[in-house]
C-alpha cells in the first residue's frame, strides 16, 4: 500500500513535467513525419548527406545515409538528441529526486518515520521511472502514428516504430535504474542529478566517439547506447542480445539500489 501511496505522491509532484515531456516527444516525432523527404527529394538530401563530414554522418545514422528512405528517416528521429534528452530528463529527474532528493530536501524524515519500508520507496521510484518513460516513449510513437495518418509514407507503418519506442524505453529504464542506485548512495538531490546526468551523457558521448574513432572502438560495448540502434531495429528487428544487456544492467542497478538503500542512514 505504501508503494502505491508514494507512487501517487510522485505523480502529483511530477505530472506537469511528465505531460510536458510527453507532449514534446509527440510533437517532435509528428514533425519528423512532416519533414521526411518525398521520393523526388531524396537525391538532393543524399547529396547533402554525402557532403557532410564523417562524424556528422555517424551522428545522423549510417543506415540513413547508406539507404535513404522514409523508414530510415523515422529511425533517425529516435536517435536524435532531442527525444533522447526528453527521456533522459525524466530518468534523471525521477531517480535522483525520489531518494537522494528527498533526503537532501529533508522530507525523507517524514516518510522514513512512518510505516514505509525502504523497499517500498525504491519500488515506487522504479515504477514511477518506468511508467513515466513508457508515457513519453508512447507519446513519441503516437506522434509518429498521427503524422503517418496525416501524411502516409511509402513502405512504413506506425506499428513498425513500436519496437523502437520499446527499446528507447528499455534503454532509459536501464539507465534510470543505474541512476536509482547512484541516488540511493547520495545525500543531496543536486549531487545525484550531477552523477546521473554525467553517467548518461558520458555513455552517449562514449558511444559516439567509439563509432567515429577506431582507436577506442573496443570501448563501445561499455556504453548503454550501443545496444540501442533504431535503424537496425527497423531493418532487422530487435536484437535479443541488446534486450538482454539492457535488461541485465537495469536489473543490476535496481538490485543495488534496493540493497544500498535498505542499509543506509537517512
Amino acid at each position: 500500500m505504501s508503494a502505491g501511496t508514494l507512487l501517487a505522491h510522485l505523480w502529483r509532484r511530477h505530472r506537469a513535467a511528465l505531460l510536458l515531456l510527453a507532449a514534446g516527444n509527440a510533437l517532435f516525432h509528428w514533425a519528423i513525419t512532416r519533414v521526411v523527404p518525398a521520393a523526388a527529394q531524396t537525391g538532393f538530401v543524399r547529396e547533402l548527406l554525402d557532403m557532410a563530414p564523417a562524424p556528422v554522418r555517424v551522428l545522423v545514422g549510417e543506415d540513413l545515409v547508406a539507404n535513404l528512405s522514409a523508414r530510415g528517416f523515422l529511425g533517425f528521429g529516435w536517435v536524435h538528441p532531442f527525444p533522447l534528452l526528453l527521456l533522459g530528463v525524466w530518468a534523471v529527474r525521477v531517480s535522483a529526486g525520489a531518494l537522494a532528493g528527498e533526503i537532501g530536501r529533508g522530507t525523507m524524515d517524514l516518510i522514513g518515520s512512518r510505516p514505509v519500508s525502504r523497499s517500498a520507496q525504491v519500488t515506487a521510484a522504479a515504477l514511477g521511472l518506468v511508467g513515466g518513460l513508457a508515457v513519453i516513449a508512447l507519446a513519441g510513437w503516437a506522434g509518429t502514428a498521427l503524422g503517418l495518418q496525416m501524411r502516409p509514407l511509402e513502405g512504413v507503418a506506425a506499428r513498425d516504430l513500436l519496437p523502437v519506442a520499446a527499446m528507447a524505453l528499455l534503454l532509459f529504464a536501464s539507465a534510470g535504474c543505474v541512476a536509482l542506485f547512484v541516488s540511493a548512495t547520495r545525500r543531496e538531490g543536486g549531487a545525484a542529478v550531477s552523477w546521473c546526468a554525467g553517467l548518461l551523457a558520458g555513455s552517449y558521448v562514449l558511444d559516439y566517439l567509439a563509432r567515429v574513432w577506431s582507436a577506442i572502438a573496443f570501448l563501445r560495448p561499455l556504453s548503454l547506447f550501443s545496444y540501442y540502434q533504431p535503424q537496425r531495429i527497423l531493418r532487422e528487428g530487435v536484437a535479443v542480445q541488446d534486450v538482454a544487456v539492457l535488461a541485465a544492467v537495469g536489473a543490476a542497478g535496481l538490485v543495488l539500489a534496493f540493497g544500498v538503500f535498505a542499509r543506509r542512514d537517512l
Binding site: M1, L110, S113, R114, P115, D265, L266
Partner: protein
Amino acid sequence: MPPEAAALTADGLTKRFGAVRALEDLSLRVEQGEVFGFLGPNGAGKTTTIRLLLGLLAPSGGRATVLGNAVTLGGAAWRSAVGYLPGEVAFWPQLSGQRTLDFLAHLSQREPVERAALLDRLGLDAATLKRAVHTYSDGMRQKLGIVQALQCRPRLALLDEPTKGLDPLVQQAFYEIVAEARRRGTTIFVSSHVLAEVQRLCDRVAMLRVGRLVFAGDVADLRRTERRRVRAVFAADVDPQPFAHFGALVAASPREIALLVAQEELPALVARLGMLPLADLVVEAPSLEEAFLERYR
C-alpha cells in the same frame, strides 16, 4: 505492545559518523504516558538520538525499543503509532498544506482524527491549507509540522524543537495541545533547549553533553541536586572569608554575602549564620536554567 513495556528505551545506544562520536552509550527509559524532556546545547546529540529511535539511522552500538518493539531500519508497523516532528521540518514546496497532511496521514495508515482540532487550535484555516507550502512562513510550516506529527493521535510523539519559530500565543496553544495529549495517555518526547518550556511541560528530563548523558531524572530532582543560592545580610560588619568553607563565595562584603552551597551544607551554614547579627537570609533553589548551565559549565 505489552502493558508493562516502556514507551521507549535506549540501551548503550551509540552513534559514530566516521571519527565523530555523535552519541555515546546512551541508556534511558521513557514510560508510557509521560512527557519527557531531552535537553542539550546544539550538537549535543539530541536529534541523532531521535533519529536513531525512529530507525532513520543505524546505531554503531547498543539497541533501542519503541512501544515494545526493537528498532530497526525500514518500515516496521509500530511506526504507525508514532508521530514525529523533525527539528528542521521540510515539506514538498509545490504541494498544498491539505495535500501534505492527507499524504502523510495515508502513509501513517491511521485516520487523522485530531487534525481538525489541531488546525483550529493552531490557527491554520482552510484557505491557508489550500495554498502551496512554499508560500508559508516559517511559523506556519512549524504549525503544519506539529499537525502532521499529532493528527493521527499517536501513542508516542517525538518532537524535536517543537516551538521553534512559533509566537508566544501559538506556543501557549502548543502547551495546551501537549497537556491534552498527555491526558489521553500519549507519551511525548520533547527535545528542546528552551528550559522554561521543559520545566513547564515535562515530568522527567535527560540532559546530553557532547553525546553523553549527564543527567536523567525528575525535573525536581535536577533542581534539588544543584547548589542553592544563599544571600545573607548582616546588621553589623562581619568577616566574609570563613564562609568560603561552606561553598563558592559569589559576592562578599562586610555587610552582605552571596554564595552557592550544596544542599547538605545548608544546616551547618544556617547554624553558623545564626551566631552572627543576621538581618536577612534568602535561600533559593536554582532555576532549571541555572541547573542546566551548571551542568554544562
